[in-house]
Symmetry: C2
Subunit: 247 residues, 2 copies
DNA sequence: CGCTAGCTTGACATTCTTCAACCGGAGTGG
DNA sequence: CCACTCCGGTTGAAGAATGTCAAGCTAGCG
């Protein structure tokens, strides 16, 4: 497999696109300086495995560009995605040497890595990284619980609609891809990866995508580019409350 | 509904059964003192709702005795449990006024509650509560991901076996209920609550329990008391790796 | 030009849910 | 004390949703 070159710019923290959402969001100037001293960038191309479950991982990282997936695999090959990391999300676990899940880049990806041990030291010696990490971890736990509802109780169609709305939402907050009420975005996952995310087979994913398309809820431009003509209509298919879980 | 009295002893922190596993585990004497100043106990009986999704929650808490469940409900009544809190587990989210899930006591329950705002102050003014909470939250996230694999990819029989092994394991670490290789424990959940945990119907739960019993993997003493004659045999039914996910 | 990877579609098999009946023990009122 | 009812649980039969297996499509690439 020829290693196509992935080249993202390596920004200074000051111009970093995730500066205000990542683990470093709350850092004071001095803390940021310490982080900067132990950081380095890594790029991966779409499809590459970053690390295998059980391997030793000597860094933790923030996703700067692209999307990474955490997946668990059973002995007989059944696979379930258990984490989908978008820009600003955190990868790795402090105080844990070995990783518990396979980590792969589902798109071209840039990580901002911190050497693990110095990062841990920072956690105990300064307050703001740890506080932000706690907040982010609690958010991820909430997301995981939403995901559990999806896996345990939603129909295939609801699963697809929910997934599309999640991607659309996270994509929309980053960039403003809304033109005259239409929402357009690129799927960061293959049909197979979507199946792993949703606890379905790729055939069922494909069928339900076709069904939503037939019913005018989504349009496809190519296989990966999705157009949502009416976001409300999509939300109606997710099975979630009308208010979108706002409380 | 007559309110049967639930009476757990209210221990001093020094004799608290969860002192070394809960959020307070890492506390120094002075931090413990501050916690003690804002703590109070609450008891609930099995089946009682502690708080509804969307309600205001002015405390956070540690489970001291018993079991509590977090569940999400869809408009049409489909329900998914998204958290099962055993002794020493933490309930509530700092810096969040409203709860996101229904919380119910599935057995008689005692909580050690901390008023939320003072607790938050402690998080920012002292290091050890926050550090412990981060650790516990990361553990819960790992558990949630294990649970996602179960929900997304396991068969009904594997789900039941996995659930039983989880309860057996957590029960065994607390007390030593092993007699001549047999493991006995009380189910803290009704069949319906098990179904909500596992993303199944209660009929399917019942059928699979019967099936495991017929095959000699488990024995039933009454409806709730489970005997595992051979833990290995149960593990073989879970679909998990032989090594039990140790890495 | 033909191959491959990713995707779609069809036919059939399987698993789980749904609907319904029934069981048994605990609590209750006559 | 007995009948009644309710709750949690079990079991059966039928149906629906999703998985499995297989064929075929399309765009991009060597």
């Amino acid at each position: 497999m020829a290693q196509r070159q992935v080249a993202f710019p390596q920004a200074d923290c000051a111009e970093c696109p995730i500066r205000h959402r990542a683990v470093c969001a709350r850092c004071e100037a001095d803390e940021l300086e310490q982080l900067e001293a132990i950081k380095y960038y890594r790029n991966y191309e779409a499809g590459q495995t970053i690390i295998w479950a059980g391997d030793k991982m000597d860094f933790v990282a923030s996703v700067v560009h692209g999307v990474a997936a955490l997946t668990q695999t059973m002995e007989d090959g059944r696979r379930q995605m258990v984490g989908l990391l978008l820009p600003s999300d955190f990868l790795g676990r402090p105080n844990r040497e070995h990783v518990a899940y396979d980590v792969t880049a589902t798109t071209d990806l840039q990580l901002c890595c911190f050497r693990r041990v110095p990062f841990q030291d920072l956690l105990s010696s300064t307050p703001h990284v740890g506080q932000r990490l706690l907040e982010m971890t609690l958010d991820e736990l909430d997301a995981a619980r939403e995901w559990m509802l999806l896996l345990g109780r939603k129909t295939a169609r609801e699963k697809i609609a929910s997934f599309l709305s999640i991607i659309a939402r996270r994509d929309a907050t980053a960039q403003g891809n809304v033109r005259k009420g239409e929402l357009t975005f690129e799927l960061p996952l293959t049909r197979e990866a979507m199946a792993d995310y949703l606890g379905l087979t790729l055939e069922t994913v494909s069928r339900q995508m076709s069904s939503l398309k037939k019913d005018g809820v989504i349009r496809l431009e190519g296989k990966r580019r999705i157009v949502i003509p009416d976001f409300e209509a999509l939300m109606d298919e997710t099975g979630d409350d009308a208010d979108g879980g706002v409380y």
